[in-house]
Protein backbone atom coordinates (compact mmCIF):
# COMPACT_ATOMS: atom_id res chain seq x y z
CA UNK A 1 0.00 0.00 0.00
CA UNK A 2 1.08 3.56 -0.65
CA UNK A 3 1.31 6.46 1.79
CA UNK A 4 -1.94 7.51 3.54
CA UNK A 5 -4.06 9.90 1.51
CA UNK A 6 -5.66 12.96 3.04
CA UNK A 7 -8.05 15.30 1.24
CA UNK A 8 -9.18 18.75 2.37
CA UNK A 9 -12.85 19.55 1.74
CA UNK A 10 -15.30 22.23 2.85
CA UNK A 11 -17.16 21.51 6.04
CA UNK A 12 -20.20 23.25 4.60
CA UNK A 13 -21.21 24.93 1.33
CA UNK A 14 -24.35 26.97 0.55
CA UNK A 15 -27.12 24.78 -0.95
CA UNK A 16 -26.60 26.01 -4.55
CA UNK A 17 -22.99 24.72 -4.45
CA UNK A 18 -23.56 21.47 -2.62
CA UNK A 19 -22.60 18.47 -4.72
CA UNK A 20 -20.46 20.73 -6.93
CA UNK A 21 -17.41 21.50 -4.79
CA UNK A 22 -14.36 20.08 -6.50
CA UNK A 23 -13.26 17.68 -3.80
CA UNK A 24 -16.13 15.60 -5.23
CA UNK A 25 -14.07 14.80 -8.35
CA UNK A 26 -11.14 13.68 -6.21
CA UNK A 27 -13.34 11.58 -3.90
CA UNK A 28 -14.87 9.98 -7.00
CA UNK A 29 -11.48 9.15 -8.56
CA UNK A 30 -10.30 7.66 -5.25
CA UNK A 31 -13.49 5.59 -4.93
CA UNK A 32 -13.11 4.30 -8.50
CA UNK A 33 -9.46 3.45 -7.85
CA UNK A 34 -10.30 1.69 -4.58
CA UNK A 35 -7.95 3.94 -2.58
CA UNK A 36 -8.78 4.74 1.02
CA UNK A 37 -8.59 8.35 2.13
CA UNK A 38 -9.16 10.52 5.11
CA UNK A 39 -11.06 13.81 4.90
CA UNK A 40 -9.85 16.95 6.61
CA UNK A 41 -12.61 19.56 6.80
CA UNK A 42 -11.90 23.23 6.41
CA UNK A 43 -14.01 26.25 7.34
CA UNK A 44 -14.02 29.62 5.58
CA UNK A 45 -11.75 31.29 8.16
CA UNK A 46 -9.17 28.49 8.02
CA UNK A 47 -8.79 28.86 4.25
CA UNK A 48 -7.83 32.52 4.64
CA UNK A 49 -4.92 31.81 6.98
CA UNK A 50 -1.33 32.15 5.84
CA UNK A 51 -0.77 28.53 6.77
CA UNK A 52 -3.50 27.35 4.41
CA UNK A 53 -2.45 29.74 1.63
CA UNK A 54 1.01 28.27 1.87
CA UNK A 55 -0.54 24.98 0.78
CA UNK A 56 -3.19 26.38 -1.58
CA UNK A 57 -2.23 29.88 -2.79
CA UNK A 58 -5.78 30.67 -3.98
CA UNK A 59 -7.48 29.61 -0.73
CA UNK A 60 -9.57 26.88 -2.35
CA UNK A 61 -10.29 23.19 -1.89
CA UNK A 62 -9.30 20.48 -2.49
CA UNK A 63 -5.76 20.02 -1.19
CA UNK A 64 -4.44 16.47 -1.46
CA UNK A 65 -1.60 14.95 0.53
CA UNK A 66 -0.07 11.53 0.06
CA UNK A 67 3.01 11.10 2.21
CA UNK A 68 5.46 13.78 1.11
CA UNK A 69 3.42 14.79 -1.93
CA UNK A 70 1.06 17.72 -1.53
CA UNK A 71 -1.07 18.81 -4.49
CA UNK A 72 -3.84 21.28 -5.27
CA UNK A 73 -5.95 21.80 -8.45
CA UNK A 74 -8.58 19.10 -8.84
CA UNK A 75 -7.49 18.40 -12.43
CA UNK A 76 -3.91 17.70 -11.37
CA UNK A 77 -5.06 15.56 -8.43
CA UNK A 78 -7.41 13.33 -10.44
CA UNK A 79 -4.70 12.92 -13.09
CA UNK A 80 -2.22 11.92 -10.36
CA UNK A 81 -4.67 9.31 -9.04
CA UNK A 82 -5.45 8.03 -12.54
CA UNK A 83 -1.77 7.50 -13.32
CA UNK A 84 -1.40 4.99 -10.48
CA UNK A 85 -1.48 1.34 -11.55
CA UNK A 86 -5.01 -0.05 -11.08
CA UNK A 87 -5.52 -2.14 -7.94
CA UNK A 88 -6.76 -5.72 -8.41
CA UNK A 89 -10.52 -5.70 -9.00
CA UNK A 90 -10.56 -2.04 -9.99
CA UNK A 91 -10.94 -0.44 -13.36
CA UNK A 92 -7.97 1.58 -14.72
CA UNK A 93 -8.84 5.28 -14.97
CA UNK A 94 -6.62 5.86 -18.02
CA UNK A 95 -6.21 3.68 -21.12
CA UNK A 96 -2.88 1.82 -21.32
CA UNK A 97 -2.25 2.42 -25.04
CA UNK A 98 -0.08 5.60 -25.25
CA UNK A 99 -2.07 7.53 -27.92
CA UNK A 100 -5.40 6.68 -26.23
CA UNK A 101 -3.87 7.67 -22.89
CA UNK A 102 -2.74 11.05 -24.22
CA UNK A 103 -6.20 11.62 -25.73
CA UNK A 104 -7.92 10.80 -22.44
CA UNK A 105 -5.69 13.30 -20.65
CA UNK A 106 -6.51 15.88 -23.31
CA UNK A 107 -10.19 15.53 -22.41
CA UNK A 108 -9.41 16.44 -18.79
CA UNK A 109 -7.97 19.70 -20.13
CA UNK A 110 -10.96 20.10 -22.46
CA UNK A 111 -13.39 19.73 -19.59
CA UNK A 112 -11.61 22.45 -17.66
CA UNK A 113 -10.43 24.80 -20.40
CA UNK A 114 -12.95 24.47 -23.21
CA UNK A 115 -16.11 23.95 -21.15
CA UNK A 116 -15.64 24.90 -17.50
CA UNK A 117 -14.31 28.34 -18.30
CA UNK A 118 -17.58 29.30 -20.05
CA UNK A 119 -19.83 27.35 -17.68
CA UNK A 120 -18.24 29.02 -14.65
CA UNK A 121 -18.64 32.46 -16.24
CA UNK A 122 -22.36 31.72 -16.75
CA UNK A 123 -22.83 30.31 -13.24
CA UNK A 124 -20.98 33.25 -11.69
CA UNK A 125 -23.65 35.53 -13.14
CA UNK A 126 -26.46 33.28 -11.95
CA UNK A 127 -25.09 33.01 -8.42
CA UNK A 128 -23.43 36.36 -7.82
CA UNK A 129 -24.73 38.94 -10.29
CA UNK A 130 -28.21 37.85 -11.50
CA UNK A 131 -29.70 41.33 -11.09
CA UNK A 132 -26.61 43.37 -12.00
CA UNK A 133 -27.12 45.25 -15.27
CA UNK A 134 -23.87 43.80 -16.68
CA UNK A 135 -24.94 40.28 -15.76
CA UNK A 136 -28.34 40.68 -17.39
CA UNK A 137 -26.76 42.10 -20.55
CA UNK A 138 -23.97 39.53 -20.74
CA UNK A 139 -25.87 36.35 -19.86
CA UNK A 140 -27.57 35.57 -23.22
CA UNK A 141 -24.22 35.58 -25.10
CA UNK A 142 -22.64 33.33 -22.47
CA UNK A 143 -25.58 30.94 -22.51
CA UNK A 144 -25.23 30.72 -26.29
CA UNK A 145 -21.51 29.99 -25.91
CA UNK A 146 -22.18 27.27 -23.34
CA UNK A 147 -24.90 25.71 -25.54
CA UNK A 148 -22.53 25.65 -28.48
CA UNK A 149 -19.79 23.95 -26.43
CA UNK A 150 -22.28 21.42 -25.03
CA UNK A 151 -23.52 20.56 -28.54
CA UNK A 152 -19.95 19.86 -29.61
CA UNK A 153 -19.38 17.74 -26.53
CA UNK A 154 -22.62 15.82 -27.12
CA UNK A 155 -21.49 15.01 -30.68
CA UNK A 156 -18.59 13.03 -29.15
CA UNK A 157 -21.10 10.49 -27.87
CA UNK A 158 -22.55 9.65 -31.29
CA UNK A 159 -20.23 6.66 -31.55
CA UNK A 160 -18.98 6.05 -28.03
CA UNK A 161 -20.31 5.95 -24.50
CA UNK A 162 -17.43 7.70 -22.76
CA UNK A 163 -14.85 10.32 -23.77
CA UNK A 164 -11.98 7.85 -24.04
CA UNK A 165 -14.10 4.90 -25.21
CA UNK A 166 -14.18 3.21 -21.80
CA UNK A 167 -15.03 5.13 -18.63
CA UNK A 168 -11.96 7.16 -17.55
CA UNK A 169 -10.78 10.05 -15.42
CA UNK A 170 -11.79 12.36 -18.30
CA UNK A 171 -15.45 11.52 -17.58
CA UNK A 172 -14.96 12.27 -13.88
CA UNK A 173 -13.68 15.75 -14.69
CA UNK A 174 -16.32 16.38 -17.38
CA UNK A 175 -19.21 15.38 -15.11
CA UNK A 176 -17.77 17.54 -12.32
CA UNK A 177 -17.85 20.49 -14.73
CA UNK A 178 -21.36 19.73 -16.05
CA UNK A 179 -22.78 19.49 -12.53
CA UNK A 180 -22.45 23.26 -12.14
CA UNK A 181 -25.34 23.58 -14.64
CA UNK A 182 -27.83 21.68 -12.51
CA UNK A 183 -29.83 24.87 -11.85
CA UNK A 184 -30.45 25.11 -15.65
CA UNK A 185 -31.83 22.76 -18.30
CA UNK A 186 -28.77 23.23 -20.54
CA UNK A 187 -27.50 19.65 -20.13
CA UNK A 188 -30.89 17.90 -20.23
CA UNK A 189 -31.91 19.96 -23.30
CA UNK A 190 -29.46 17.76 -25.23
CA UNK A 191 -30.65 14.16 -24.78
CA UNK A 192 -27.29 12.56 -25.64
CA UNK A 193 -25.61 14.68 -22.99
CA UNK A 194 -28.26 14.04 -20.35
CA UNK A 195 -27.88 10.31 -21.01
CA UNK A 196 -24.08 10.55 -20.73
CA UNK A 197 -24.36 12.35 -17.41
CA UNK A 198 -26.87 9.80 -16.06
CA UNK A 199 -24.64 6.93 -17.18
CA UNK A 200 -21.65 8.36 -15.31
CA UNK A 201 -23.55 9.45 -12.22
CA UNK A 202 -25.15 6.00 -11.89
CA UNK A 203 -21.75 4.54 -11.00
CA UNK A 204 -21.62 3.32 -7.39
CA UNK A 205 -18.30 5.13 -6.84
CA UNK A 206 -19.93 8.44 -7.80
CA UNK A 207 -22.91 7.78 -5.56
CA UNK A 208 -20.64 7.00 -2.61
CA UNK A 209 -18.54 10.13 -3.10
CA UNK A 210 -21.57 12.40 -3.46
CA UNK A 211 -23.16 10.92 -0.33
CA UNK A 212 -19.90 11.44 1.58
CA UNK A 213 -19.68 15.10 0.56
CA UNK A 214 -23.35 15.78 1.34
CA UNK A 215 -23.14 14.03 4.70
CA UNK A 216 -20.51 16.50 5.94
CA UNK A 217 -22.64 19.46 4.83
CA UNK A 218 -25.69 18.07 6.66
CA UNK A 219 -23.62 17.62 9.81
CA UNK A 220 -22.19 21.15 9.67
CA UNK A 221 -25.21 23.16 8.51
CA UNK A 222 -25.05 26.59 10.18
CA UNK A 223 -28.03 27.48 12.39
CA UNK A 224 -29.29 30.16 9.95
CA UNK A 225 -29.88 27.51 7.26
Amino acid sequence: MGAPIQLTALQWAPPQFQGQVRDLAVRWALEEAGLRYEIKLSGDAARKTAEYRERQPFGQVPVYTEGDIELFESGAIVLHIAEKPALPGHHALLPADPPARARAKAWIFSALNSLDVHITALCDIDHWAPTEPWGIARRPQLEQMVRSRLEILAAQFAHREYLAGEFSVADIMMIMVLRALRHTTLVTDIPALGAYRDRCEARPAFQRSLAAQMQEYARHTPPSH
Binding site: R53, P57, F58, G59, Q60, D68, I69, E70, L71, F72, E73, S74, G75, A76, I77, L79, H80, P98, P99, A102, R103, K105, A106, I108, F109, S110, L112, N113, S114, D116, V117, T120, A121, A129, E132, P133, W134, A137, R138, R149, I152, L153, A155, Q156
Partner: protein, 219 residues
Protein backbone atom coordinates in the same frame (compact mmCIF):
# COMPACT_ATOMS: atom_id res chain seq x y z
CA UNK B 1 10.99 9.56 -34.84
CA UNK B 2 7.60 10.72 -36.01
CA UNK B 3 7.38 14.18 -37.50
CA UNK B 4 5.65 16.69 -35.29
CA UNK B 5 3.25 19.19 -36.80
CA UNK B 6 1.68 22.11 -34.94
CA UNK B 7 -1.34 24.01 -36.26
CA UNK B 8 -1.47 27.80 -35.88
CA UNK B 9 -2.94 30.76 -37.73
CA UNK B 10 -1.64 32.58 -40.80
CA UNK B 11 -2.72 35.88 -39.29
CA UNK B 12 -4.54 37.24 -36.23
CA UNK B 13 -5.40 40.85 -35.29
CA UNK B 14 -2.59 42.78 -33.57
CA UNK B 15 -4.05 42.45 -30.03
CA UNK B 16 -3.78 38.65 -30.30
CA UNK B 17 -0.33 38.48 -31.88
CA UNK B 18 2.15 36.81 -29.53
CA UNK B 19 -0.76 35.44 -27.47
CA UNK B 20 -2.20 32.62 -29.60
CA UNK B 21 -1.89 29.34 -27.74
CA UNK B 22 0.34 27.61 -30.27
CA UNK B 23 3.05 29.82 -28.66
CA UNK B 24 3.19 27.63 -25.54
CA UNK B 25 3.43 24.49 -27.68
CA UNK B 26 6.19 25.95 -29.87
CA UNK B 27 8.02 27.05 -26.71
CA UNK B 28 7.80 23.62 -25.09
CA UNK B 29 9.05 22.00 -28.29
CA UNK B 30 11.96 24.46 -28.47
CA UNK B 31 12.89 23.75 -24.83
CA UNK B 32 12.66 20.00 -25.44
CA UNK B 33 14.78 20.33 -28.58
CA UNK B 34 12.13 18.70 -30.75
CA UNK B 35 11.90 19.94 -34.33
CA UNK B 36 8.42 20.57 -35.73
CA UNK B 37 6.72 21.80 -38.81
CA UNK B 38 3.79 24.19 -38.80
CA UNK B 39 0.43 24.05 -40.49
CA UNK B 40 -1.17 27.46 -40.78
CA UNK B 41 -4.90 28.06 -41.07
CA UNK B 42 -6.28 30.93 -43.11
CA UNK B 43 -9.27 33.05 -42.12
CA UNK B 44 -12.29 30.82 -41.40
CA UNK B 45 -10.42 27.56 -41.94
CA UNK B 46 -10.61 26.81 -38.19
CA UNK B 47 -14.33 26.18 -38.73
CA UNK B 48 -13.91 23.77 -41.65
CA UNK B 49 -15.21 20.22 -41.22
CA UNK B 50 -11.66 18.99 -41.78
CA UNK B 51 -10.28 21.04 -38.88
CA UNK B 52 -13.28 20.37 -36.59
CA UNK B 53 -12.66 16.67 -37.08
CA UNK B 54 -9.35 17.03 -35.22
CA UNK B 55 -10.25 20.04 -33.01
CA UNK B 56 -13.97 19.85 -32.17
CA UNK B 57 -14.07 23.40 -30.77
CA UNK B 58 -12.56 24.96 -33.90
CA UNK B 59 -9.45 26.32 -32.20
CA UNK B 60 -5.67 26.12 -32.39
CA UNK B 61 -3.27 24.56 -31.61
CA UNK B 62 -3.53 21.01 -32.85
CA UNK B 63 -0.53 18.70 -32.38
CA UNK B 64 0.12 15.81 -34.73
CA UNK B 65 2.81 13.19 -34.24
CA UNK B 66 2.47 9.99 -36.25
CA UNK B 67 -0.85 8.38 -35.29
CA UNK B 68 -1.43 10.75 -32.40
CA UNK B 69 -3.53 13.89 -32.79
CA UNK B 70 -4.01 16.06 -29.72
CA UNK B 71 -5.82 19.30 -29.00
CA UNK B 72 -5.90 21.45 -25.82
CA UNK B 73 -2.65 23.36 -25.38
CA UNK B 74 -2.30 22.18 -21.76
CA UNK B 75 -2.54 18.53 -22.80
CA UNK B 76 -0.08 19.09 -25.64
CA UNK B 77 2.47 20.80 -23.40
CA UNK B 78 2.09 17.96 -20.87
CA UNK B 79 2.61 15.40 -23.64
CA UNK B 80 5.79 17.17 -24.81
CA UNK B 81 6.98 17.60 -21.21
CA UNK B 82 6.66 13.86 -20.65
CA UNK B 83 9.43 13.44 -23.24
CA UNK B 84 11.73 16.02 -21.63
CA UNK B 85 13.16 15.87 -18.07
CA UNK B 86 13.92 19.58 -18.39
CA UNK B 87 10.19 20.34 -18.63
CA UNK B 88 8.90 17.65 -16.26
CA UNK B 89 11.17 16.16 -13.57
CA UNK B 90 11.10 12.35 -13.35
CA UNK B 91 10.89 12.21 -9.51
CA UNK B 92 7.19 11.47 -8.75
CA UNK B 93 6.66 14.17 -6.12
CA UNK B 94 8.29 16.94 -8.16
CA UNK B 95 6.49 15.76 -11.29
CA UNK B 96 3.09 15.90 -9.59
CA UNK B 97 3.84 19.39 -8.21
CA UNK B 98 4.82 20.69 -11.66
CA UNK B 99 1.56 19.29 -13.05
CA UNK B 100 -0.34 20.97 -10.20
CA UNK B 101 1.10 24.33 -11.26
CA UNK B 102 0.28 23.59 -14.90
CA UNK B 103 -3.37 23.17 -13.93
CA UNK B 104 -3.16 26.23 -11.67
CA UNK B 105 -1.91 28.32 -14.61
CA UNK B 106 -4.74 27.17 -16.86
CA UNK B 107 -7.58 26.95 -14.34
CA UNK B 108 -6.92 29.30 -11.44
CA UNK B 109 -5.17 32.14 -13.27
CA UNK B 110 -5.87 32.08 -17.03
CA UNK B 111 -9.70 32.30 -16.92
CA UNK B 112 -9.60 35.47 -14.86
CA UNK B 113 -6.86 37.17 -16.89
CA UNK B 114 -8.60 36.24 -20.15
CA UNK B 115 -11.94 37.53 -18.86
CA UNK B 116 -10.27 40.87 -18.21
CA UNK B 117 -8.47 40.87 -21.56
CA UNK B 118 -11.74 40.11 -23.36
CA UNK B 119 -13.39 43.14 -21.75
CA UNK B 120 -10.58 45.30 -23.10
CA UNK B 121 -10.55 43.82 -26.60
CA UNK B 122 -13.62 41.96 -27.92
CA UNK B 123 -16.11 43.80 -25.72
CA UNK B 124 -14.38 47.18 -25.35
CA UNK B 125 -17.36 49.05 -26.82
CA UNK B 126 -20.05 47.27 -24.80
CA UNK B 127 -21.71 49.07 -21.91
CA UNK B 128 -21.94 45.83 -19.89
CA UNK B 129 -18.17 45.41 -20.22
CA UNK B 130 -17.60 48.83 -18.65
CA UNK B 131 -19.88 47.86 -15.74
CA UNK B 132 -18.23 44.45 -15.35
CA UNK B 133 -14.68 45.72 -15.41
CA UNK B 134 -14.17 46.63 -11.70
CA UNK B 135 -15.17 43.17 -10.41
CA UNK B 136 -13.22 41.39 -13.17
CA UNK B 137 -10.16 43.50 -12.38
CA UNK B 138 -10.43 42.74 -8.66
CA UNK B 139 -10.66 39.00 -9.39
CA UNK B 140 -7.63 39.08 -11.70
CA UNK B 141 -5.63 41.01 -9.10
CA UNK B 142 -6.61 38.57 -6.38
CA UNK B 143 -5.35 35.63 -8.45
CA UNK B 144 -2.11 37.46 -9.30
CA UNK B 145 -1.60 38.12 -5.58
CA UNK B 146 -2.09 34.39 -4.89
CA UNK B 147 0.35 33.54 -7.65
CA UNK B 148 2.99 35.98 -6.35
CA UNK B 149 2.65 34.52 -2.85
CA UNK B 150 2.81 30.98 -4.24
CA UNK B 151 5.98 31.85 -6.14
CA UNK B 152 7.49 33.56 -3.08
CA UNK B 153 11.19 34.22 -3.56
CA UNK B 154 11.73 31.20 -5.80
CA UNK B 155 12.86 31.81 -9.38
CA UNK B 156 10.40 29.29 -10.85
CA UNK B 157 7.12 27.73 -9.74
CA UNK B 158 8.54 24.36 -8.75
CA UNK B 159 12.29 23.68 -8.66
CA UNK B 160 14.13 24.55 -11.87
CA UNK B 161 12.39 25.93 -14.97
CA UNK B 162 9.60 23.56 -16.07
CA UNK B 163 6.48 23.15 -18.18
CA UNK B 164 4.56 24.95 -15.42
CA UNK B 165 6.57 28.10 -16.19
CA UNK B 166 5.89 27.74 -19.92
CA UNK B 167 2.16 27.78 -19.23
CA UNK B 168 2.17 30.44 -16.49
CA UNK B 169 4.31 32.84 -18.53
CA UNK B 170 2.08 32.53 -21.58
CA UNK B 171 -0.94 33.08 -19.30
CA UNK B 172 0.56 36.28 -17.84
CA UNK B 173 1.07 37.54 -21.39
CA UNK B 174 -2.72 37.80 -21.82
CA UNK B 175 -2.66 41.01 -19.77
CA UNK B 176 0.47 42.54 -21.27
CA UNK B 177 -1.71 45.47 -22.41
CA UNK B 178 -2.12 46.37 -18.70
CA UNK B 179 0.32 47.27 -15.91
CA UNK B 180 -1.03 44.58 -13.56
CA UNK B 181 2.06 42.38 -13.77
CA UNK B 182 4.60 45.19 -13.88
CA UNK B 183 3.06 46.62 -10.69
CA UNK B 184 4.05 43.41 -8.89
CA UNK B 185 7.88 43.17 -8.83
CA UNK B 186 7.92 39.44 -8.04
CA UNK B 187 5.75 38.59 -11.02
CA UNK B 188 7.39 41.09 -13.37
CA UNK B 189 10.82 39.61 -12.61
CA UNK B 190 9.46 36.09 -13.00
CA UNK B 191 7.91 36.82 -16.40
CA UNK B 192 11.07 38.60 -17.60
CA UNK B 193 13.23 35.68 -16.41
CA UNK B 194 11.14 33.17 -18.34
CA UNK B 195 10.79 35.29 -21.47
CA UNK B 196 14.57 35.83 -21.58
CA UNK B 197 15.02 32.18 -22.46
CA UNK B 198 16.29 31.66 -26.02
CA UNK B 199 13.66 28.96 -26.60
CA UNK B 200 10.89 31.46 -25.79
CA UNK B 201 12.35 34.01 -28.18
CA UNK B 202 12.54 31.47 -30.98
CA UNK B 203 8.96 30.36 -30.33
CA UNK B 204 7.65 33.93 -30.32
CA UNK B 205 9.49 34.79 -33.52
CA UNK B 206 8.13 31.65 -35.15
CA UNK B 207 4.56 32.59 -34.25
CA UNK B 208 4.95 36.20 -35.37
CA UNK B 209 6.73 35.52 -38.69
CA UNK B 210 3.62 34.37 -40.61
CA UNK B 211 1.57 37.30 -39.26
CA UNK B 212 3.90 39.74 -41.06
CA UNK B 213 3.87 37.63 -44.20
CA UNK B 214 0.08 37.19 -44.33
CA UNK B 215 -0.97 40.61 -43.01
CA UNK B 216 -4.12 41.76 -44.84
CA UNK B 217 -3.66 44.77 -47.11
CA UNK B 218 -5.45 47.73 -45.50
CA UNK B 219 -8.61 48.63 -47.36
Amino acid sequence: MANIRVTGFKWVPPFAQGLVRDLRVRWALEEAGLPYEEKLLGHGEQNSAEHRAIQPFGQVPVFEEGDLTLFESGAIVLHIAEKSPLLLPPEPGARARVITWMFAALNSVEPHLLALAALDSFFAKEEWARLRKPSALAMAQSRLTGLAAGLGDRPYLEGPFSAADVLMTTVLRFIKHTTLVTEMPTLAAYQARCEARPAFKRALEAQLAPFAKYAPVAA
